[in-house]
Symmetry: C2
Subunit: 217 residues, 2 copies
């Protein structure tokens, strides 16, 4: 279905399309034009058509998109139907928050296990996910088919844990530590979660609003 | 300094430039060409020059950018020197994680206070930030100069708290609840933090890698 390498900017927009389509489904909308979809997402219709054209034919000229079908196509492109499995390393505040509030399955990912060094956590379960000792991490990786490691350990041990994960052939690291893991080698995919990027964008818009008010005054 | 409305995509790249420039400073790099900067960020030199051209003159043709000066300019554009103040509402897992690990001041924002409904938290302090009863939220907003509300409350109360914030004139909401707050009115800026966007991009790249392997096999 896919034609060559797709730009990172397009990939980053796909989850936004997905969320919007879910919203539309919830409000009972079954079909939407690229114009209307663009309006709701702050994109031009031509950008939307261009984005989708990276992945083949979507919708029918003049008829708009079938919301359900488009949603399924995007979910497929995003690998949500591949049955990816993840483990969580570090059950501190962020780790707990993810286990508690973040629905991995909603995004097609199964959270299989969590790992920590804290005796009081080891052997327990949280929302059905077992928490094991970090000592058993390598064994676990070698005996289970895991694609994604969610890294939520303290900064001080982030690099050591990362090395262990790579040594054991993990495919991808979803990195919640504040340490930027630049792709450590060509075979591990790293996604750094930077809260600051989001705060700074917000800050920009507040500053912009201040300037606008200043100009008006 | 700024010339007209700048596209959201450009704004989203600014924090990435900032992080890269901080990294360069740490490694003792004082000057960098747009070519080299582009290489390190996966952008073309012309895209970089175009991004910066939105905000006036940056660097000198043929000499590249002075890392420190460019960093200061971008920080200014992002409003990091405006002295914005934030409050946190909800000191659960995510709220705790933010208070514990996220350095607001590093990004030019002061976290002034936190609010919760839990008796055991009210009246305490965490990393120097006082935690007050949510009952006093409106009073606090009316007597302090606060621009940003960090929303980390349970889903069930997210909308009610948001209404309260808007009613009391908050400028911006940094939304960590899983509820998408579409800009509720024209005067409140909302930044939704969607962990799923990041996980799905990761998932895409794992799927892409699988497909490449499949083609090779």
């Amino acid at each position: 279905m896919k034609q060559g390498k797709v730009s990172n900017n397009v990939i980053r927009r796909l989850p936004r399309y997905l969320r919007k389509l879910d919203e539309l489904t919830e409000s009972g909308v079954g079909r939407i034009s690229s114009f209307e979809l663009g309006q709701q997402l702050g994109l031009t219709p031509s950008q939307i058509r261009q984005d989708f054209s990276n992945f083949g034919e979507f919708g029918q000229q003049g008829y708009g998109y079938n919301v359900e079908a488009l949603r399924a196509q995007i979910a497929g492109i995003l690998g949500m139907d591949r049955g990816f499995r993840a483990i969580l390393i570090g059950v501190g505040n962020i780790g707990h928050a993810l286990m508690d509030n973040f629905s991995f399955t909603e995004w097609g990912v199964e959270l299989s296990a969590a790992f920590d060094v804290k005796e009081s956590l080891i052997g327990s379960e949280f929302n059905g996910v077992p928490i094991y000792s970090e000592d058993s991490l390598e064994d676990y990786l070698n005996t289970h088919d895991i694609q994604i490691a969610v890294l939520a350990v303290p900064k001080t041990v982030a690099l050591a844990v990362t090395e262990k994960l790579i040594r054991n052939g993990i495919e991808a690291i979803w990195n919640f530590t504040n340490i930027e893991l630049t792709e450590p080698n060509s075979t591990t995919i790293v996604e750094n979660v930077h809260f600051s990027d989001s705060l700074l964008a917000l800050s920009y818009y507040v500053a912009e609003r201040q300037d606008e008010r200043g100009q008006k005054a």
